[in-house]
């Protein structure tokens, strides 16, 4: 029950790839909802689930680190922290105090594409949640002081120390991203941002950012749980109806992404064992090959029976860990395979086998059994998300933002059902085998000879 972390959701673009909800076999997955839009442009989605007397409010602002400018990296996430520091009618500290006093939890998170906030608690707490959320949507900026910015800057810098700098391999991500993307591309830096940019953020940045992005037109709110839709509509109108619409949101086009060549780099870290990361560009979320790439990642590394675990960890015993992740975001997607060597082995040994396995799946594709296994796991994950109103609420907001249809659960699962072995084979060839990548070696300090080297290179 303890909440101590306001998370910057981790590794840059590899964000939304994990757990999806859904239902099995012949049953169709449905999360019924109603939706309405207030005159100021705030879109509201309501889902009733009376099985447990709880309610959740999940607000998505359609702004993330992907909307930041160079020199202000990490600002979207710093702003997220400031959203808990009180607003015009809610004194500093009261946001959390009031919610805990009625048995509710709350938190927020920032990704490359969006920032979300939720409160979750007993069903009678809904008016308080809407009061607090509306106050910080409409009346935040006048209360932000340089002291509050300095304080949360310190907290966020400690978040960076705790989650990145003081973690083994914790700086791998930012070292990959800056090589995978051109410097002007907002996915070229991690959500947490750089220490220097966090230090440079000013109160004027806060005002500007709020005016631009934290407006009713740029938000979607999901209210889910033991609620009455008519009552929700009345309360939403009451608390949010008077907030000014704000200017229309315009987004800068992102520069094109393309790797012209393989890029090799090495980072020394305070680690016992070397680890290699291979990262390729793929496709945006919900693009035609997005689901196929997720299936490929599962075939390669989901569970002990996956191809890479079996070869590297179980049979050859040259790696202690291996993982493959696919992730599509709003502007781009990526595919990453990483593996950690066991004592006495170097990263070239691992790269050789990783290369063999990629070629094998690109040449022969997965087996029927592998395809069924991955689909069954995917269906079970969809089902898991249906258990919690908080999970359903966030997913409704996610689908609404990315595909424009909140109840996209069944359609999303159907994407996975349509994937064929030939598709998986094709994407392995197209996005991995025939494409360039960033290869980052993280090695113990002074042990550069363990790094992966470019075949035929110097």
């Amino acid at each position: 029950m303890v909440r101590h972390v306001r998370t910057a959701v981790g590794s840059a673009v590899l964000l939304m790839a994990c757990a999806w909800p859904a239902q099995v076999a012949a049953q169709s997955l449905r999360v019924p909802y109603i939706t309405f839009t207030l005159p100021n442009g705030l879109k509201v989605i309501v889902h009733e689930d009376h099985s447990v007397p709880v309610v959740t409010v999940n607000t998505w602002y359609h702004v993330g680190s992907g909307d930041e400018l160079p020199g202000r990296t990490g600002f979207a996430h710093l702003f997220e922290h400031l959203m808990f520091m009180g607003s015009q009618h809610v004194p500093t500290g009261q946001f959390d105090q009031l919610l805990e006093a009625v048995g509710a939890d709350n938190n927020g998170s920032t990704t490359v594409d969006r920032t979300n906030y939720y409160e979750s608690g007993p069903a009678n707490a809904l008016p308080l949640m809407l009061y607090l959320d509306s106050d910080r949507m409409g009346f935040l900026v006048p209360e932000i002081t340089p002291e509050k910015v300095d304080l949360q800057r310190g907290v966020v810098q400690n978040e960076r120390r705790q989650s990145y700098e003081n973690q083994p391999y914790g700086l791998a991500d930012e070292n990959i991203l800056k090589r995978l993307y051109p410097a002007a591309h907002p996915y070229s830096w991690p959500v947490i941002g750089s220490m220097a940019d966090l230090s440079a953020a000013t109160i004027e940045d806060v005002r500007q950012f709020s005016r631009t992005w934290y407006t009713p037109t740029n938000a979607t709110m999901v209210i889910a749980g033991d609620v009455n839709p008519t009552d929700v509509r009345r309360q939403m109108t009451r608390w949010f109806g008077g907030i000014a619409r704000g200017p229309a949101v315009t987004r800068r086009p992102a520069p094109p992404v393309n790797l012209e060549t393989d890029i090799y780099a090495t980072l020394e870290d305070r680690v016992q064992l070397p680890r290699v990361y291979n990262t390729w560009h793929t496709v945006k979320a919900f693009a035609p090959d997005d689901a196929v790439l997720n299936v490929l990642a599962d075939v390669l590394s989901s569970g002990k029976s996956s191809r890479l675990y079996r070869r590297l960890v179980y049979e050859m015993q040259i790696a202690s860990q291996v993982s493959a992740d696919a992730g599509g975001a709003r502007l781009d997607g990526s595919f990453e395979i990483s593996a950690t060597a066991r004592p006495g082995h170097d990263l070239n040994e691992l790269q050789l086998v990783l290369g063999e396995e990629i070629r094998r799946v690109a040449e022969a594709g997965p087996t029927t059994r592998e395809m069924e296994r991955v689909l069954n796991q995917t269906e079970a994950q969809f089902l898991g998300q249906m258990e919690r109103v908080g999970g359903k609420a966030n997913q409704l907001a996610y689908y609404d933002y990315f595909v424009g249809t909140p109840d996209y659960f069944q359609a999303d699962l159907d994407r996975y059902r349509r994937v064929t072995a030939a598709d998986v084979q094709r994407v392995a060839r197209e996005y991995l085998l025939r494409a360039h990548r960033v290869v980052l070696s993280v090695v113990p300090q002074g042990r550069l000879q363990l790094a992966a080297t470019q075949p035929g290179g110097n």
Binding site: L132, G154, E165, G241, G242, G303, R330, L383
Partner: protein, 485 residues
């Protein structure tokens, strides 16, 4: 780039989209000068626990939840690390880990593959007090998944080749603990608080030396002794009835030999407390210092369970708790500070902790000690007490929302032999706690004069500052808690 247009929704939604909210409604300005009044909090509605005893002595408990077609099955065994032989810490966790590395007719990889194929999660684990085999599975695959679970429980192979493989993997994992300051603190702190003579003071995941001694014989012997039906309980939660569960389980676990139920683990004595001391574990170059402060706490059976829950919520068990507010929201020294009483069958540790900016290590320790003293010395104000009680009591329904959430709540009752209707009186018992109760347990269980204070950080940056605090001597330790001279 704008988000895509709506691709079509259910008819009700489409209708409501057209019906725009009248502007007049929006114009009514709400009263923002105070938080809105709330209606009464919903009552906690809990599913009941049904029980049965299977023919060979295995106790079964079933909780029906039919919302989503999934089932959670948890088999709990008194086979935890408290049963580790003194020369072989890590045997209980290793034995649990070996259960699914080949069993029945299936190899290690075939078991994993079959579970994945069924869309099931099957896990085996051991804590200090017990071992568990846990299954989470879509209802329609429950039968085949239970077949798998029964193999893992009743027919583990413990092949030499798999023992060797997992032993080597564990060696690598133990090596990698040196990379993680939180893991280092997690080894050093209990070792110093409890001492090597107490099972809670020994490394639950084993040491480099003990891992080398793991053999098929030792694993097999531990399994034969401790994995017995009279030593186990089975909890089934989800889309299932008691009758269904009884039949499914009896069919599959019937072959499990009753054997001899081993005696309960003997009581153990923790190391005698010494005067408050700082134990410094050097991690050169660390960006933060990981702090753990505490002492031997209480067992789960303590009569002070409810006041301690309230105390801990106030001290470090919620976002607005004193430690987090002070170290994070007032000073910005950390991303989060917390505290907990780990309640086990025997008294577990109380610990408060945080990862703090290296340069603020001494300042953070001052604030930790200030808060730990204050909660003993001063009566908690009524509003703060009320908030903490409400946070615990009103948050309870959310803990029962999912099958796995409910399973972990009910599992605690079975693990500790608590009455099955325990949660029915939970809220009333929290609500009865007074500020005097909180102060009494703070004084009784926060042993300031004997605190063990472990700091894992860059010694060259932090030692002088800690010494200057004048709050206790410094002892230099390795990650196992052993003194370095």
């Amino acid at each position: 780039m704008n988000r895509p247009l709506r691709a079509g929704a259910c008819p009700a939604a489409a209708f409501l989209l057209l019906a725009a909210v009248p502007a007049a409604l929006a114009a009514q300005a709400p009263d923002r000068t105070r938080p809105p009044a709330l209606g009464p909090a919903p009552a906690l509605r809990l599913p009941s626990v049904q029980t049965a005893t299977l023919p060979h002595g295995l106790q079964l408990a079933v909780v029906e939840m039919h919302k989503v077609p999934v089932v959670d099955v948890t088999l709990m065994l008194d086979a935890g690390a408290v049963a580790d032989p003194a020369d072989l810490p890590g045997l209980a966790t290793f034995t649990a880990n070996m259960l699914d590395e080949g069993a029945g007719r299936r190899s290690a990889l075939e078991i994993a593959e079959e579970a994945d194929f069924l869309g099931a999660r099957l896990s085996t684990s051991a804590s200090y007090d017990g071992a568990a085999i846990a299954l989470h599975v879509p209802k329609r695959q429950l039968g085949p998944a239970l077949d798998l679970m029964a193999d893992v429980l009743v027919r583990p192979a413990f092949a030499d080749s798999e023992i060797t493989r997992q032993r080597d993997l564990r060696r690598t994992q133990i090596l990698q603990q040196r990379d993680q300051p939180v893991a280092m603190a997690g080894l050093a702190f209990p070792s110093i608080v409890f001492g090597a003579q107490h099972p809670y003071g020994r490394a639950i995941g084993g040491t480099e030396a003990s891992t080398a001694l793991l053999t098929r014989d030792r694993v097999s012997q531990f399994y034969q002794t401790h994995y017995r039906p009279g030593n186990a309980k089975l909890l089934v939660v989800g889309d299932i009835t008691l009758a269904e569960a009884q039949q499914l389980v009896a069919e599959r676990f019937g072959a499990w030999e009753r054997g001899t139920t081993p005696p309960a683990a003997p009581a153990a004595t923790a190391a005698a407390p010494t005067a408050r001391t700082f134990y410094l574990v050097d991690k050169p170059g660390a960006a933060q210092s990981v702090i753990r402060i505490g002492n031997v706490g209480v067992p789960r059976s303590t009569a002070d369970y409810f006041p301690l829950q309230v105390l801990n919520t106030i001290l470090g068990g919620s976002f607005t708790s004193r430690l987090n507010q002070n170290l994070r929201e007032t000073h910005g020294y950390t991303y989060g500070a917390n505290s907990q009483f780990a309640m086990r069958r025997m008294a577990g540790p109380f610990q408060a902790g945080a990862a703090v900016q290296s340069a603020k290590t001494d300042s953070s320790l001052i604030e930790f000690l200030r808060e730990l003293r204050r909660v003993r010395d001063e009566v908690v104000p009524q509003a703060e007490l009320d908030k903490a009680k409400a946070y615990i009591a009103l948050g309870l329904p959310g803990d029962f929302e999912t099958t796995s959430g409910s399973a972990s709540q009910f599992r605690a009752l079975l693990d500790f032999g608590l009455p099955l209707d325990y949660y029915n009186s939970y809220v009333a018992r929290i609500n009865a706690i007074t500020a005097a109760d909180v102060q009494r347990v703070a004084r009784q269980y926060l042993d300031l004069d004997h605190f063990v204070i472990v700091v894992v950080g860059d010694r060259s940056q932090i030692e002088a500052g800690i010494r200057a605090l004048n709050e206790g001597p410094i002892s230099i330790r390795d990650l196992w808690g052993q003194e370095i001279r």
